[in-house]
């Protein structure tokens, strides 16, 4: 018999939830730093920012917003389904969430590609000759939507894990903290976009 007493399995769902929320606060502050930079440079370059906002595709941005809101709905419904013992439905709803994420990323790809073609991206040969306000706008646009996109990808991977765990019965109606916490992370991704959308697409 091993001389060890190191593994005590203690399950504390409330601790898991608290831990996840605490992590979300750090994510909020991480993006918060960028929102701070945005607010200062917007204040100093109000017209340039407003003008550049026109060059973003409002239709695509709005669609993406609806897509993410819908994905929040589907992930919330997947938890409800799981709690009612409806495994298959929970998984279908999680897949729907990930499909929404994919649609979002495809749209984002087209948006970014358009900007690359126009040369308004950091590191392009013409970037440094843009007027100051424009340069700052596009830098912040790519930095913030880029960081957000990374979180969409990470969130999707987390939800894939949730699907796997449901299939393996590691997530069950009596043990679903992982599912809830995955959902919380996903809602954070939605929350950040709820603020990114107006700040970049709507204020002009």
């Amino acid at each position: 018999m091993e001389n060890t007493t190191e593994h005590f399995e203690h399950r504390d769902d409330a601790a898991s939830k608290l831990g996840m929320w605490l992590f979300l606060y750090t994510e909020l502050l991480l993006f918060g730093g960028l929102f701070l930079v945005y607010s200062i440079y917007r204040f100093r370059n109000a017209e340039a920012f407003a003008e550049c906002g026109h060059h973003l595709d409002l239709m695509v941005g709005t669609i993406n917003t609806i897509v993410l809101l819908t994905s929040s709905m589907t992930v919330a419904m997947s938890i409800t389904a799981l709690q009612h013992g409806k495994k298959k439905q929970a998984i279908r709803l999680l897949i729907a969430t990930i499909v929404c994420a994919l649609i979002f990323m495809v749209n984002k790809y087209f948006e970014w590609h358009h900007k690359f073609e126009m040369g308004t991206y950091p590191g392009s040969p013409t970037f440094k000759s843009l007027p100051h306000g424009d340069g700052l706008f596009y830098l912040l646009y790519f930095f913030m939507t880029g960081l957000h996109a990374i979180h969409v990808i990470v969130g999707s991977i987390i939800l894939i894990f949730v699907i796997v765990y449901i299939k393996q019965d590691k997530i069950r109606p009596d043990k679903f903290a992982l599912h809830e916490n995955g959902g919380l992370y996903w809602h954070l991704v939605d929350l950040i976009w709820i603020f990114l959308f107006p700040l970049f697409y709507l204020i002009h």
Binding site: N3, Y25, G32, G123
Partner: protein, 532 residues
């Protein structure tokens, strides 16, 4: 009688180094942190000694200006990000927190080990800046733009190291917050919790909320150096002062990450060695939270001469004066606890008494810095250097030493030689004041900081200061050697050599892996020495 092993004997079923680097036991993780931390502390101390050697006389002694700049940058980065910020939480928070609240471990033991790996990675990345490219950063630990953007030295690597270290700090804070919320022993309500736990609670909130801001700021520096887009470059529409805002939004709360745990240590040691209940327990608990909270709103006092608006300067100066109040409340309460106490001058208590004296000087000179009119004269002079060494070293550093000497028997089950420890303390204390007090004078006389040279009228106090550094180093080395001897061949210690009423002392020294044979049930408030 239990057949439970002490945590040092319990190999967890692993062999060799894996007993340590794969262990999720908070006690072993604490020692993993201590091993790296103490090594880097000694390295940074040597860097400091060579800086003082350069400053022993006007003119070049052993290094030129470029090297000097890299030295003070390294000294700052190591001391701040690798020693002081992790310091007490990573070592004593990890070891003692679960014990002092009656828990088996922290809330997320595996995450705890992961925090340590991040810490290790951060230190290695920081080391790598010495070995590649144009050498270590020469910007100062503050990495101010635009110089940090333009310099050819390894700034990108250095800030990436700080980024990784910050992530480690965040996860530790997250772990401690959850631990304190969820794992207190039955009966231990919030206001029956020891003040060290309260201190770690407040600290963890700062780690959690402030660190991400510097994280994203450091990412911005990396992006700026890579893409040159103009975030902080006035030529491209950016504002370097914005960098300072972002940097200090973290780095000011960071100094409270540094001092709050130390204050928690003070609140534990004083009752034990004065045999008195702490005066104003709730006031100290609330003050910890107040310091954490108000501390978020004072960062501009590092930027009074940067070009900020007059309105901003007034607001930040006012907030700075407010944040001094809860610290002062704590000092009053500690001194009140000592009054009519039965004071036992054991080594930990000596360090705490020294702390009160040194922290008082540091804190009061903080007000000199925080007042707009006086700051104009002393900003970026040696005065500031003296101030922050009094609070960070005389404050946090001395409480770190106090904590080692206090919890030593608990951690290793042995005792160090107390007489040598006290002699080391005396040498340390004299050396410290000789090293740093002259810097107040030099600063008022006008000597700038971060210069490798100075005009001849500053020579006398610089010589005093450099000699002080040698005395201080002697004290530190004596202290460290004495402690290492204690670990290797010290006398076996009883489980409660200080007769403390605190929970960590009610279990074996060293503790068994699960800390307690049975999780205790708490009925009393802490520090009830008057009942003895």
């Amino acid at each position: 009688m239990s057949e439970h092993l002490s945590y040092l004997q319990d190999s967890g079923g692993r062999k060799g180094i894996f007993k340590w680097i794969l262990s999720t036991d908070h006690k072993r993780i604490a020692l993993l942190y201590l091993s790296i931390l103490s090594t880097f502390f000694l390295v940074a101390m040597c860097i400091g000694l060579s800086m003082k050697l350069e400053l022993i006389a006007p003119g070049r002694q052993i290094m030129g200006p470029q090297t000097y700049n890299q030295m003070f940058t390294l000294h700052g980065v190591i001391m701040i990000f690798i020693f002081i910020i992790p310091g007490i939480p990573a070592v004593f928070g990890n070891f003692i927190l679960p014990l002092i609240i009656g828990a088996k471990d922290v809330a997320f033991p595996k995450l705890n080990l992961f925090s340590w790996y991040l810490y290790l990675a951060g230190t290695l990345i920081a080391l790598s800046t010495l070995l590649v490219g144009h050498g270590p950063a020469d910007t100062g630990w503050t990495f101010y733009a635009p110089y940090s953007i333009r310099t050819g030295t390894n700034v990108t690597l250095a800030v990436f190291a700080a980024f990784v270290l910050g992530f480690s700090s965040i996860l530790t804070g997250l772990n401690f917050l959850t631990t304190i919320h969820r794992m207190r022993a039955p009966g231990m309500t919030w206001f029956k919790m020891p003040l060290f736990a309260w201190a770690l609670y407040a600290t963890s909130w700062i780690q959690l909320l402030a660190t991400p801001v510097v994280g994203i700021t450091l990412l911005m520096i990396m992006a700026e150096r890579t893409f040159g887009v103009g975030l902080f470059d006035p030529a491209l529409g950016g504002d370097p002062v914005l960098y300072q805002h972002l940097f200090w939004i973290y780095s000011h709360p960071a100094v409270y990450i540094m001092i709050l745990p130390g204050m928690g240590v003070v609140s534990e040691i004083i009752p034990t060695f004065a045999r008195r209940r702490i005066f104003g327990y709730r006031a100290i608990a609330y003050s910890s939270l107040a310091i954490a909270f108000i501390g978020y709103f004072v960062w501009g006092h590092h930027m009074f001469t940067s070009g900020m608006s007059g309105t901003a300067r007034i607001v930040f100066s006012l907030m700075t004066f407010l944040v001094a109040i809860p610290s002062a409340i704590k000092v009053f309460n500690w001194v009140a606890t000592l009054y009519k106490g039965s004071i036992d001058l054991k080594t930990p208590m000596l360090y705490i008494l020294a702390f009160i004296f040194l922290f008082l000087i540091g804190g009061l000179t903080g007000l000199v810095n925080g007042a707009l009119a006086t700051d104009v004269h002393i900003h970026d002079t040696a005065f500031v250097v003296a101030h922050f060494h009094y609070v960070m070293f005389g404050g946090t550093g001395f409480t770190f030493f106090a904590a080692i000497h206090y919890w030593f028997p608990k951690i290793w089950g042995k005792m160090y030689n107390a007489k040598i420890a006290n002699i080391a303390w005396g040498i340390l204390f004299v050396g410290f004041n000789l090293l740093y007090f002259p810097m107040f004078i030099l600063g008022m006389m006008g000597m700038p900081r971060r210069y490798y040279d100075y005009p001849p009228e500053f020579t006398f106090w610089n010589v005093v200061s450099t000699v002080g550094s040698w005395i201080l180093a002697t004290g530190i080395i004596l202290m460290v050697v004495n402690l290492i001897r204690g670990i290797r061949s010290g006398e076996k210690a009883p489980s409660n050599p200080w007769n403390s009423l605190s929970l960590e002392w009610q279990t074996a020294s060293p503790p068994i892996t699960e800390n307690f044979e049975e999780i205790p049930v708490i009925t009393d408030e802490p520090y009830q020495y008057q009942k003895q």
